[in-house]
């Protein structure tokens, strides 16, 4: 029953939890800039308020173009576990609510461990820009 990285994850979790009393990952109103600096992605957890392993949740995401005012052509969310080389068991339903805002439903990080959430913004030229956030779930 031991996964390859179980020990490493446990150590990582222990370190994380040393400074964090919560067992979930509170993702309220967090933001990050795409790796190339083009877009700011702000995400807001809605239901429930903290991301917990194997619990479905929803988010709102807002995308700001930091170098202009072109609305993104597309947006896509995903989450993967790099150590296990797989992602979620769900297909995220992303609904565009206005030019720069998306509602994401059917998210579920179904295993404990390190997840990387990726926020992919496609610009007017079809170039994809990625912001990412690491989440460690107990």
């Amino acid at each position: 029953m031991q996964f390859v990285s179980a020990k490493a994850l446990l150590i990582g979790m222990a370190l994380l939890l040393a400074g964090c009393a919560s067992t979930g990952h509170s993702g309220l109103n967090q933001s990050n800039v795409t790796e190339d600096g083009r877009y700011r992605v702000t995400w807001r957890k809605t239901t429930p308020e903290a991301i917990k392993a194997n619990e479905y949740f929803e988010m709102f995401v807002e995308v700001d173009d930091l170098r202009g005012n072109s609305p993104p052509q597309d947006f896509r969310f995903d989450a993967t576990m790099p150590a296990h080389r797989h992602g979620m068991n769900t297909v995220v339903n992303a609904t565009r609510t206005d030019d720069s805002t998306w509602q994401l439903q059917d998210l579920n990080l179904h295993m404990p461990g390190e997840w990387v959430m990726t926020f992919d913004v496609t610009d007017e030229n079809g170039v994809l820009h990625r912001a990412s956030e690491t989440v460690i779930l107990e």
């Binding site: 992602g87 390190e114 990726t118 170039v127 994809l128």
Partner: protein, 643 residues
């Protein structure tokens, strides 16, 4: 890869008409009114046995045997894509047609009931047909994306009244009349198009079966182009595929070579159900007798035997009811931990390569005693950030950037690297973070060249080069790339600005030199490689000499810029220093030559004079020191962990 067995005598008349009509459309159709006809045997009722995967025989030393077709007289025809030879029959009675003057890196073979042999002349972007003696009769296609043109077609199948071509580079199937007149294209559904289909067959109902290679599925179309069936997805379970390559059909059965699963699968053409599969990667290098390694094509013979072509092993294997049962262990063989290649890049302390079966990139730290793997990352797919088939990579150690050309998804991906300190190498699956991913104009192979701060993409199929801008706007480069630019390198010019390029042209077998190269005269603009069989990659040492990989000859050559050969080494084999279809070469910042020994699933490191330094894989390394110590003590090869 084969025609129907049913004869359609009326078609020979209609094809004459078609031939006449086609002249207006195709520039070198020359289908004679009378031509040699191979005697036809009566079609034999075919009953494939349930134990069709029993091994009967192996025929070795067939070069890059990439296509196989069953002739109606019971013989087998094979195509050596390296040499451009078509072999009729097997064993000592075989005859060879040397078509090398016409063909360039052909990949597909078929035959017509009138005796013609059709070849997918991949490197020349066309289909050619020959008589049974090898006389060129005509052809059609030509590089392009217009209706009747072709881009790197990998296969051709001849039905009773039409020819179907896997137009791989254009992600479609093209249909022509038997004489070459263009009919129409099949592209699949707009929201789920084909991706680089490499195999095609036509069944007795004129349905067209397509190995939709980079969608990892098999498609079936009606003759009118309506999709009837889609079978499979990426995976290794029965009925799933990882790059299905060749396909054949007879009596309701579909045989598919499942390239990256190293197996052959039989499907029920009526239901799409997976009936049987066999193969499994070898335990030992070059192991055959039922083990299958990167199969490229298969053909069902009239009596039901199946012949499988394995260019990687330069052999065909024959399977059928009369053969020996194959050991099908449930357990995968130990030791085969990783496949390297055929792509590599290096800069500074980093060396990266590509694991096609996992769709993952390995990054190594070269500055340790033996290379240490720092990261393996990537997942298969077509979604953003997922990987298809990578055909080139580039890495920048200072800027901590890695780029890769994803031919399946027609994109260039860019990652940021967050490497551990040089003195504390450790494995980190999250070391690379995708930064952005820009679309390319066309899916297909191409090289990626770091030219100073620019990144240049050479589109091999289109023979064009583009400087890639971060915003997705690509500007064409001002270099004539000749006919088949398979690889290139760039180094900063003397002024530190205008880089000089060396472009390896596989068609011309020459390295074209662009810009100011020290050590060569202004008249001499190229290094001739005519003595090489199959040059596929090049790299440069600090003394400006250029190393070239000759894949089919399993050999490495090093040339001065003036064309003088400075060193040459390598031979086919599995020992240290020996090579098996080497696919790529890079030179690291210590001037060590690293060769991707693709067929041996490893990399080897050499001194500039060809002296072997070490062999390494994803988890182990063997050095000259170890080997000499081991030889002194026990005369046995040992391995050591890489950390």
């Amino acid at each position: 890869m084969r025609s129907n067995r049913e004869s359609d005598r009326s078609d020979s008349r209609s094809s004459q008409t078609a031939q006449t009509e086609s002249r207006a459309h195709h520039w070198y159709v020359a289908y004679p009114a009378r031509m040699p006809i191979t005697p036809l045997l009566l079609a034999i009722p075919l009953l494939l046995p349930s134990d069709m995967g029993r091994w009967i025989s192996t025929e070795n030393d067939l070069g890059g045997v990439c296509a196989v077709v069953a002739l109606p007289d019971g013989r087998v025809a094979t195509l050596d894509g390296d040499s451009g030879h078509v072999r009729l029959g097997s064993g000592e009675s075989a005859t060879t047609l040397d078509l090398s003057r016409t063909l360039h890196q052909p990949r597909g073979l078929s035959h017509c009931e009138d005796g013609r042999i059709f070849v997918a002349d991949t490197g020349n972007h066309r289909v050619m047909f020959f008589d049974g003696e090898g006389l060129m009769l005509g052809g059609f296609g030509g590089r392009g994306s217009e209706d009747y043109r072709l881009l790197a077609p990998h296969d051709v199948a001849v039905g009773s009244n039409f020819v179907a071509v896997a137009d791989t580079g254009n992600d479609r199937v093209q249909l022509y009349q038997l004489g070459g007149k263009y009919l129409y294209a099949i592209e699949g559904s707009p929201d789920d198009p084909m991706r680089r289909p490499e195999g095609i067959a036509i069944d007795s109902d004129n349905r067209i079966w397509v190995a939709d290679t980079h969608n990892h599925r098999v498609l079936c179309f009606s003759p009118s182009g309506k999709q009837i069936r889609s079978i499979g997805s990426w995976g290794n379970f029965p009925g799933q595929f990882m790059e299905p390559s060749g396909i054949d059909t007879a009596d309701g059965y579909i045989v598919v070579t499942d390239r990256l699963n190293h197996r052959v699968q039989i499907l029920d053409g009526a239901t799409g159900a997976a009936i049987e599969s066999w193969g499994m990667h070898s335990f030992l290098p070059r192991q055959g007798e039922g083990r299958v390694h990167y199969p490229a094509d298969a053909a069902i013979l009239p009596q039901g035997d199946i012949v499988v072509a394995e260019p990687f092993e330069e052999r065909t294997q024959r399977f059928g009811a009369s053969g020996k049962a194959i050991d099908k262990p449930a357990q995968a063989p130990p030791g085969v931990q990783s496949h390297f290649g055929p792509v590599a890049a290096t800069d500074g302390r980093f060396f990266c390569t590509w694991e096609p079966e996992l769709r993952a990139i390995h990054i190594f730290d070269l500055d340790r005693r033996t290379p240490v793997r720092l990261s393996t990352f990537g997942t298969p797919g077509t979604a953003p950030g997922q990987l298809g088939d990578l055909t080139a990579m580039a890495i920048d150690a200072d800027r901590q950037r890695l780029w890769a050309v994803d031919a399946t998804n027609a994109r260039v991906h860019e990652w940021m690297l967050n490497p551990p300190p040089p003195d504390q190498p450790r494995f980190d699956p999250s070391m690379a973070t995708l930064n952005r991913s820009a679309p390319l104009q066309q899916s297909g192979p191409g090289d990626l060249v770091k030219a100073g701060s620019d990144l240049v993409f050479l589109d091999r199929n289109q023979a064009r080069g583009w400087t890639l801008q971060g915003d997705g706007q690509h500007s064409p480069i001002a270099i004539d790339l000749l006919r088949d630019p398979i690889a290139a390198l760039a180094v900063p010019g003397e002024d530190g600005q205008n880089p000089r390029f060396a472009v390896l042209d596989a068609r011309e077998r020459a390295i074209q030199l662009h810009g100011v190269w020290p050590g060569h005269s202004s008249e001499q603009r190229s290094i001739e490689l005519v003595a090489l069989e199959d040059p596929v990659d090049l790299a440069q040492l600090s003394d400006n000499s250029i190393v070239v990989v000759d894949r089919a000859a399993h050999r490495i050559h090093r040339f001065a810029v003036d064309g003088t050969e400075l060193a040459s080494w390598g031979e086919r084999g599995v020992e240290h220093g020996q090579l098996w279809r080497p696919a790529a070469v890079v030179v690291d910042h210590h001037d060590r030559i690293i060769v991707l020994d693709h067929g041996n699933h490893r990399a080897q490191m050499f001194e500039p004079d060809g002296t072997w330094i070490m062999t390494f894989g994803a988890g182990r390394a063997w050095t000259a020191d170890q080997e000499s110590r081991a030889a002194a003590s026990s005369n046995k090869t040992t391995g050591s962990e890489d950390k």
